[in-house]
């Protein structure tokens, strides 16, 4: 069953799902949980020696990204790097496999 988080459907997702969505490792997600930099729900432990299980509010996870990355600075750096490489929007469209509209 797909987890669709929209304004109408909040979702609590698993650590592996959060990692797959953001293309990071599950260790990264666990590290963020350990320092409290993403919201989480810790489920009761099911037995001795078992790793704690968590659920993550998807909307809260998305909102936490600005504290786990410096997105404003990273966007600036991406733009600088692209300029340095001579990549403008049209070239970026082509690199991604598309072509700009004739009227653009």
């Amino acid at each position: 069953m797909a987890h669709v988080s929209t304004s109408l459907k909040p979702q609590l997702i698993k650590v592996a799902e959060a990692a797959a969505f953001l293309r990071v490792s599950t260790s990264t997600i666990h590290n963020w949980i350990q320092v409290g930099s993403i919201p989480y729900i810790k489920l009761p432990e099911s037995g001795a020696g078992k790793r704690a299980d968590y659920r993550i509010p998807l909307r809260g996870l998305i909102a936490s990204l600005n504290s786990n990355y410096d997105l404003a600075a990273d966007l600036d750096e991406l733009a600088s790097l692209a300029r340095e490489q001579g990549i403008d929007a049209d070239r970026a469209v082509a690199l991604a496999g598309g072509q700009p509209d004739p009227q653009d």
């Binding site: 669709v4 919201p39 909102a63 504290s67």
Partner: protein, 245 residues
């Protein structure tokens, strides 16, 4: 809320070129996301409360909690609203999914990109930025994707499947060979189960016929948006998250 799935032919130029229409469109999506978040925070806390009540021993932790999220969102809206055209639409929301975040990662550091391999950290930040401006997120279920493009490009089917799963009305793509086949009219894809239709269109069509087609918000209004406001929409407000990075 009109949900829009955009592939990397739209997302990637928006992420790397702050002066482009692609970036200004991302600002509009970020604006829509902030207003959707404002409506959604109480529902997310209700979902958490249900889990806490259902399973004794569960604990809520980390930041931001829904209360903090609401404060962050209100602060971001206050930071941006004076700088946007008065009638900037609030009802368009971007959808992202694992196939899209993977494509952003690939195009940012993969072989096709002139940024190739330069900075894996920046590639992950590009993924996070795309996610940060999204209103809706699809988290799984891409194992069995129907052949929407009828074999034109199997890699593009998950993009259309994202729209089907999200119930998104629009698929925005500059890929004229495989997804949005005609820049003058929508290419229609249908959910095989519900027959609900999803319209794949080019950027030009979307701007002229959908986003800027009303009397209150024109293409010139869109052009007047400073693409750097995207940073304002996603940056840390520093007001409620006391935890270290």
């Amino acid at each position: 809320m009109q949900l829009v799935v955009a592939d990397t032919t739209v997302l990637f130029p928006g992420l790397i070129d702050p002066d482009s229409l692609y970036r200004k469109l991302l600002v509009v999506f970020a604006w829509g996301k902030l207003h959707a978040d404002l409506r959604a925070v109480t529902e997310e806390q209700a979902e958490i409360d249900r889990l806490l009540a259902r399973t004794p021993g569960t604990q809520q932790g980390g930041h931001p909690d829904p209360g903090q999220l609401e404060a962050q969102v209100r602060q971001r809206i206050a930071l941006i609203e004076d700088h946007l055209p008065a009638q900037t639409p609030k009802d368009f929301g971007l959808v992202v999914s694992p196939p899209i975040t993977q494509e952003v990662l690939d195009i940012t550091i993969g072989d096709r990109s002139a940024l190739g391999g330069r900075s894996p950290e920046l590639a992950h930040a590009a993924v996070a930025s795309a996610a940060a401006v999204s209103t809706a997120q699809i988290v799984d279920d891409f194992d069995d994707v129907p052949h929407y493009t009828e074999g034109r490009d199997r890699k593009d089917d998950p993009i259309i499947h994202t729209a089907v799963l999200a119930g998104a009305e629009w698929i925005l793509s500059q890929d004229k060979k495989h997804i949005a086949l005609d820049h003058r009219k929508p290419t229609i894809y249908a959910d095989p189960h519900t027959r609900r239709q999803h319209k794949a269109v080019s950027l030009g069509y979307f701007l002229n016929e959908v986003l800027c087609s009303g009397i209150h918000f024109s293409v010139d209004d869109l052009k007047s948006i400073d693409g750097n406001f995207l940073a304002l929409a996603v940056q840390s407000t520093g007001c409620v998250n006391a935890e270290p990075k």
